[in-house]
Symmetry: C2
DNA sequence: AATCTTTTAGAAAACGTTATAGTAATAAAT
DNA sequence: ATTTATTACTATAACGTTTTCTAAAAGATT
């Protein structure tokens, strides 16, 4: 237990002033080579490390970014984090990661807590509860203080800042169209009942594709669920009562559960029913059969968000130059859809 | 862009000294009710928030903990993080999360960077590369400085600090025994070839169980792999050349891949071959069939580690009171193993 | 009226650092 | 011989806060 040494202690030990030490350690021309060497050697020997806190207080920059994740157990967010992390590390920034766990209070508290000089900016995804409540004052206040924020994935028009989002409508449109082109006539949709815009956009994309090809949407084929147990029952019921030959699931878990249900009913995928999932994570990759999925570039999303924020922090971009970056998706074809195509 | 207000500005605005403001805001008895109210009102009105950096510099405590994750994409670590996060939040600590991505250099750099007053302690899982290289000086140095560390999951005897680990040998032993009790005679093992102790322990447990019940281990039934593609081939080869009726996989991905291979070969799980996986994450839960798995309590691991560290930081436990907590596992029975049992 | 307490406030030091301004002593230029 | 530069260093303020010590005024006690 030797505790870190400070500049002051070095100064005392070598009978020089603290300014001399500071300058010597920063290799200033004002200090003679001889003295510099003496000080630097001593510092090295005693493993001197400048106190980051003191530096930050001086510079008014902490080189730290606050990250808000709604949920770390969702593979997608873990991958976004990874993307962020890659860029921040490269640029010499630390990140403080906070998981809001979809709670409004946790989100407000966290941002409150960090916006006191601890961080230079935020990268955040709005929690489900916050979106439901519709109060975004905590974001607005922070922006007003001059702290930059980049929102990703789940955003809101009321918050006037940079955003990085997935191309939800178009992706859902394309996935649905893909199913139709591969001979599916009766395409079901599995969605969550939660009122997230993201979900709505994906439903919109699905409906848009149906309409485009003159298919009348059938409400019986659209399932909106709250919890997983309900979902299995709902799918079974739907399959009992309807002819279905294609299913588009709006998130990864839905895709996994749907696959389990079909397998249990011994329905051949994709011969009898095709499935396309959203978000291409490990579940899609490792399920039986591996699922054709809308691949979202989580990693890219993280990187783009981090780059944008750091540019803002370092004032390479003016504070009120606001953009929304749209990250395209890509349909990854695997074994849960048919290979034959109808050309429209 | 109004930028945060400081004590100094309040003092100037109200024509009092900064000490008066500080005391008023801390509700000191030394300040008259009248002055206090005036100052507090002003502070509230201007949304005054104390600068955390300045406070930390004063108190020599940052209320921040550094977390090292080898890899965030592994569901297990994400869950550990969640456990840590829960405790730290409750106790008013922030966490700085860093992903070493299994790199020695990244691990050293990160710890170096954070151990300059930024954090009060570390919760870390040693990276694969570090374990391979076998140099733990960065941990030792930090401990010497009087900064507490709690290691979780992957630990090393050379590092003398608190540890929280999974009961690997026993868990593997029990899983293997479970397979034997459910009539499996030829039990294969899927392991990674990387030289992690954790893997070794699990293999040891497997071997121990076999020996205990007088089964002679068959090297042909033990697969050690590096990359996923190899693994599929290796499993197929093994199944071609050997009679196998049970498989114990040492991690979640191996379990998922094994399941895919068996499904592709149309082998009935568990009627023809039973599978038990290690680490009970989403893959095990959502695969077809859902896998019987050794459930590791990632969440508990995180919580225990965080509690221990905070107790150390707050000096409720002396610095050199070192313990290793062993987190038990629990076999979760699902559909990949048979229900019938032989009692030994 | 003189002294002692209490109340209220402010000054100054401290946390660890950097940056600016200043001060010697010596060397160079006039 | 005097002024000017140069070299090598030190003092001080600053970042935003808390804390300890000091001081003045008001009130209480004799």
């Amino acid at each position: 237990m030797s505790k870190r040494i400070t500049i002051k202690q070095i100064a005392a030990a070598l009978h020089v002033s603290i300014s001399t030490v500071s300058k010597a350690l920063n290799d200033s021309y004002e200090i003679s080579e001889e003295t510099k060497k003496k000080i630097q050697d001593y510092a090295k020997e005693h493993k001197y490390k400048p106190n980051t806190l003191a530096l930050s207080l001086q510079n008014k920059k902490t080189k730290t970014i606050g990250i808000l994740l709604p949920n770390i157990l969702t593979y997608y967010y873990a991958r976004v984090l990874r993307g962020i992390e890659e860029v921040t590390t490269e640029k010499g920034y630390n990140i403080i990661t906070c998981i809001t766990n979809e709670s409004y209070k946790k989100e407000v508290d966290t941002m409150e807590m960090l916006s006191n000089g601890t961080i230079d900016g935020f990268i955040a995804c709005i929690s489900e509860e916050t979106l439901k409540i519709g109060n975004f004052d905590h974001f607005k206040n922070i922006l007003e203080d001059g702290t930059p924020i980049v929102l990703y994935d789940r955003v809101h028009a009321e918050i006037n800042c940079d955003k990085v989002v997935t191309d939800n409508i178009k992706s859902a449109y394309k996935a649905t169209r893909f199913l139709m082109r591969s001979e599916c006539k009766n395409i079901a949709l599995i969605s969550t009942s939660e009122g997230l815009d993201i979900g709505k956009f994906r439903v919109d994309g699905y409906l848009k594709a149906l309409r485009k090809y003159d298919v009348i949407p059938n409400e019986d084929l659209i399932i909106r669920y709250n919890d997983e147990e309900n979902l299995k029952d709902a799918i079974n019921k739907m399959l009992d009562e309807n002819k279905v030959d294609g299913i588009f699931t709006i998130d990864e878990i839905s895709g996994a559960i749907t696959t389990q249900v079909l397998n249990k009913r011994n329905i051949k995928i994709p011969q009898e029913i095709s499935i396309i999932g959203f978000t291409n994570g490990i579940l899609s990759r490792y399920s039986t059969p591996p699922l054709t999925s809308v691949n979202r570039f989580a990693h890219t999303t993280g990187k783009v968000a981090a780059k944008r924020l750091i540019d803002k922090i370092e004032e390479k971009i003016p504070f009120d130059d606001i953009v929304t970056e749209i990250i395209k998706t890509k349909l990854v074809e695997r074994d849960s859809t048919k290979k034959m195509f109808i050309k429209f």
